[in-house]
Amino acid sequence: MRRLPAWRRYLRFWGSNVRDDVNDEIRFHVEMRVAEYVARGMSEDEARRRAAERFGNVDRALDSCVDIQEKHARAEGRAELGSVLQRDVLFGLRVLRRQALPSLVAAACIALGIGATTAMFTIGNALLLRPLPYPHGDRLVQIGSAHGTERRTGMTATSLPDFADWRSRQRSFTDVAAVWQQAMTVSSGEPFRAGGASVTASLFQTLGVTAEQGRLFRDGEDQPSAEPVAVVTRRFAERRLGGMDSVIGRRLRIAGALRTIVGVIPDRWAYPAGADIFLPLGRDPLSEGRGSRYLVVLAQLKPNVSIEAADREMSAIGAELRREHAESDANITPFVTPLREVFVGPARSGLLALGLGTLLILIVACANVAALQLARASSRAPEIAVRTAIGAAKWRIFNQLLTESVLLSLVGGVAGVAIAFAARTLVAKAVAPNVPSWMTFDIDVRALAFAAGMSVVAAIGFGLAPAIRLTRIDPAGALHGMGGILGIDRGRLQRAFVAIELALSIVLVVGAELAVQSVMRLHDVPLGFETARVTTFRLNMQGQRYASRGERVRVLTMLTNRIAALPDVATTSATTYAPGASCCSQFGTVIADHPLPPTERLIVTGNIVLPGFFKTIQIPLLAGRDFTNADGADAPKVVIISQTFAKRFWPAGDALGHLISTGSGGMETIIGIVGDVKQGRVIDDPEPQFYRPYAQDPWSDMDVIVRMKSNALLAAADVRRVARDIDPIALPISRVQPLQQAIDDSISSKQVLGTLLAALAVVALALATIGIYAIMSFFVSQRTKELGLRMALGAEPSGLLAYVMRQAFGVAVAGGLIGLTVSVFVAHALEHLLFGVRAAEPAVYVVAAGALLVAALIASYGPARRAGASDPMIALRAE
């Protein structure tokens, strides 16, 4: 038999010619049969007929042959693909195991990068991507009242008359609801406080939720005359009312009135998220002041109305109200924001900072692994060269190398998900400390997909350069000698990677430094009062007994006196809101000497305090006198103002004796000036503040301040016992805690953010150090010959050491300069997030550069010493 010429077989190589082949084969058979019959003496026609008859159905034979071949080809293709992949994976695993330590380091780098980004992703996912738990969550909006032109900041609460007008005039929303969030006292057995809200009957319709049991509020049930009813959450029913069975119809004393529970809603639908009890608002818009703003307004957009259109409509309604009610609404503009924004808004800066930080870490990790892989490539070169020389296809080697990277990356990715799982709570605390309970930071399918995607992207990111580099190896050169295997640039690419890494590390270090400094300055901010040995707790006097002002004064005075008599207690007092962490009551204020145009209204933060408050919390009295027990209900009304208040309106320093009105119902005489305090957030600038005596305006909810003689903590049990002795039913105590703790809590999220950024910076520096180490080791191993020659020619070991160190510092300086330049821009972009820190603080950059140089020094010293210790003979023999 002779073989077919090659070109004919090649023709058959392409496309599916199976059918042609089988056809040829069968035709050949028939022709042979015809020839046989003719040879036996048949006529041509007769032979042809008999041969066809003999063969039977040609088409069926043809079809079944083609079928067999095609099925086989498909199975073969699958098997081949599978086996190629399997071979690559097995070989990759072997390579990774053979170089266990470098592989482990590389996988750890990736794990850090993936872990950090995935943890960040879970937060962003929850805040930005996962739907709100309400049926039409994407159509829910909040309508705020902006004061002046500045929107979305400051006070955004709305008054009941404004709300009623908005509701009747708007056309953009299916429904509008108002919520007044309050803590409520529940008196059944030992009184306790629970989160709650007084709401319009429209709230649940607006949210689009239904009752799990019973019913929700009916229209009109929020009128003052309606029967007292309540809706509670499931968790409240289960924890406080002994289960779901007997809840509906139960009567409970809530916020001083006996109410019937008519419905239960699932926990995730509670709005605000912390509320467990919902009462009808029960207030009449006609009897309320338009300037009394305390309601949060929610609305559901109609399906075809955009936020922008709704915002325009609300602005127009606001303009109407400004004209109609100039005395109260002159400065008020309603504005519409998506409900999601309520959660995302405060988290945005943290999301941005940490998102950027983790992304940098991932890039640093990838650059690092790329540098490590390139260094390892030097040891892989002979193997690759051999495989190329014996005919391995380039794409097979390329695939093999990329498979290794993907394997490495997946191992890193799995570890990264574990890191993300552990870190997400911490990250959540830094970015979004106050989120509702339904907003959980789970590692869901999306997060896993993200991690997997990042792993593959990372694998390509760090695997491509080494793979391309190794595939380009010239087998002849590589097998000849190690010297020139990686081409002419001798690791220039690696050095570029490490320089990038260093640059990004610097950016992170600078960012972290700024954040940490900002946190430290927060701690150092003078508060204007002394927190040491001070404990506070909240007291609520609710119900019939405390309807009388005299009784409130009597009970609070009695309580503070009895607590003052406890062992170890130095002094006690009380204020409406303890300074430092909780903001605050604000009052429309009129100053007799400074009449304002009717379009403007002065709003001042004020507290109602017991005598002895300034002494207890150690706010200095700068002029005039403190309150005394003589400043009673019937005595002339008096007020004490803060230094900033006094300076702003009486710059000459003669504030004492002037008259102001801060909402007590008359004019008050200024009798004293005290130092400024940080009432709300620590980062706020000092603002005008005033204090009025409790006896002249007795509030029912007060923070009691207790200063101890020693560092011992005030026992909550003692406080509760005192309260129970006075009133066993309706005098609940809550939040017994050191004052400092409340302040720490208020800045803890910034602190955690700073700590996390610092941790990221440390990780980045460590990665960069490993990177420098890797390239310097590579540098030295590549230059064994050169170093040996230098040594043979009389170079000192110390000279060689310095030579290698210089190389390392070249990279460090290049990376450092780039990094410092980028940091300046980044710092400027982030400046507004920082407290008390300027972007252009030279010390910050000096420290970052110093840290970098130290890292370079540590990383290059080992390889450099090896260079210094190189033996000229061994070095020269190496090639």
Binding site: R8, E25, F28, H29, R60, Q69
Partner: protein, 116 residues
């Protein structure tokens, strides 16, 4: 022409393997060899010969190459592979045992119990 017998299902594979065991053979050659080797007693159904060849090829028992036949025509030649040779041995043994058993049964004396 003598009365010919259709090849039993399942024995076709065995006969094909035997046919190609002498060297590269095309499909017509296989058919002719079987006819000649059995003195035209066994006639294979040609329509099922080719699917059988292709099936054996995909199982790796025979190999196929394109070449030119004695009369200089393009033809597909089949050869026995190592795997096919082992298969041929095994199937030959099995069939021989089977055939002997059938013969033994056919030529056995009448059942004693049945006689009495």
């Amino acid at each position: 022409m003598t009365q010919s017998v259709e090849v039993l299902r399942g024995t076709l594979d065995l006969l094909i393997l035997k046919a190609v065991s002498w060297g590269p053979t095309h499909g017509y050659g296989v058919a002719r060899w079987i006819e000649q080797a059995t003195s035209d007693v066994l006639r294979i159904e040609e329509g099922s010969l080719y699917p059988a060849l292709h099936r054996l090829e995909t199982r790796g028992w025979i190999d196929a190459t394109w070449g030119t036949s004695d009369n200089n025509r393009r033809a597909k030649f089949y050869t026995l592979t190592m795997k096919g040779r082992a298969q041929l041995r095994e199937e030959t043994a099995t069939f021989t045992r089977f055939a002997h058993a059938v013969f033994a049964a056919l030529e056995a004396p009448p059942k004693p119990e049945a006689a009495s």
